[in-house]
Structures are given as C-alpha cells and as structure tokens.
Symmetry: C2
DNA sequence: ACATAACAGCCTTAAAAAGGTATACAAAAG
DNA sequence: CTTTTGTATACCTTTTTAAGGCTGTTATGT
C-alpha cells in the first residue's frame, strides 16, 4: 500500500466518521476553527498533522490517535545494562550499523 | 489535553520508536526520502500528514495508523430506512440541528 | 577526560497548505 | 419535478512547511 493510498484511506475514514454524525463539512470547519478547504483536504488525504488532530477531536476519535503509536517499552536487557537510563540519542559511529532490529530483547 | 500537547506526544512516541531501533534522525531522513528537518519537525509535533505516514512506514508502525480511525459501521436503523444506501452528504436544512449525536442506533 | 557524532536551533529559498471567495454540480428535501 | 444545500473545483493571497546548510550543545563511545 502506497503512502498516497494510506492518506486516502485515512481521509475516507474521516469522512465516514463525519457522516455518521451527520456533520456538514462546514459544521466541522466551524467547530474546529479550521477552514472548509482544510476539511476537504483532509478527506482527500492531504493536510497538516495539527489539522488532523483538531478534526479528530471534534469527531471524538482522538483516543484512537493517541494509541496508534505504541509507547515502546524499555528492553529489559537495556534496562539491566544501563541501570534504567533511557537512550536519548541513537548510538554513534562504532555502534553496529545493522540497526539491531527487534532483537536484543 | 490540547492539540499541541497531543502533537508533542505523537512526536515523542515517534522519537521513542526511532531510538528503540537505534536509528539516527539522518538515517530516517535518508530512508524515507524526506529531509532531516522534517524528521525534527515531526518529533516536535509539526509537519504534514504525508511525512508522518512515510516515517511511520519506515518504523513499521503503519498498521497502528490504519486502525487509529475506526471504520464506522452503518447504523442498522439507517440501513433499514434507506435499503442499504449509505449517506453521501450530511442532511440539510430542516434536518434537526441537534446533530443526532450517537443516538439513532 | 577527550573526541566525535547526534541533535536542537536558526537562517534562506522553494513548495505546499491554509484562508477566503466564487462557480458548478448533484444529492437530498419538499 | 423543483428547490435547496452539501460538496467539488478553481483561483488568489497569506502562512506554514520542506529542503539544505551552518552553529552550538551534549550525550555517548573510546
């Protein structure tokens, strides 16, 4: 699935949520204080993250958005190694380039 | 929780996902073909929806994004009334302004 | 402790989104 | 069928983001 397709799918779902509430694009625009054009754009898969958040709030779908990115838990191994200190930056030069993937757990 | 706070939270989670994989912002930028500045912006809660999608793909977190907006099911009542035809537009003038909320199910 | 690389912040230019307005079409209401 | 009105499309102006580069700070590996 391409990026564009995913954007379109998100737009379609926003529209479905709106229609489910029988909201007008104009009503959503007024309620969220963004312009009508932005609503149209979002339903077409374009737009800013901030606009998306505003619209999802009005559609009461924000809980889903907050859960869409899981909070990564600290690897027990790492936790043991560094005594609870979380990484603030990616590892430098000599750190393996193989990105360690999902291993190391 | 304000819109800004939610944006910041999303940015923080993206960063956490990236660090969990030990990716560099630069590495992410190269892999997604967006600029380093965009990565910084996203981790700060700003940016376009398309950028977010590209980054989440690289972080293999797209499945979450596709599920974040539920596919609204058709109200059985509506389905009965209109013989399966889904609404394509919101209801007009004399349709109650009270937006029918989540009732009518 | 030192050197290095990751990252934040700021700048400039180009591109895209947002805000606004006007027209055109079609779904829905009467 | 007729009218109403929600939505799409197009255009213009303003604002924000993207791209690329440069500097200062600091976590991190050695």
């Amino acid at each position: 699935m391409t990026d564009k397709a995913i954007g379109a799918e998100i737009g379609a779902r926003i529209k479905a949520l709106r229609l489910r509430r029988n909201y007008t694009q104009q009503h959503l625009a007024d309620a969220t204080a963004v312009s009508l054009n932005v609503i149209k754009g979002l339903e077409a898969g374009r737009g800013k993250l901030s606009s998306l958040i505003a619209v999802l709030r009005e559609l009461e779908a924000l809980d889903g958005l907050e859960q869409f990115i899981p909070i990564p838990e600290i690897s027990p191994l790492q936790l043991a190694r560094q005594q609870g200190k979380r990484r603030q930056r990616a590892s430098g030069s000599r750190g393996k380039k193989e990105t360690m993937e999902t291993s190391e757990w």
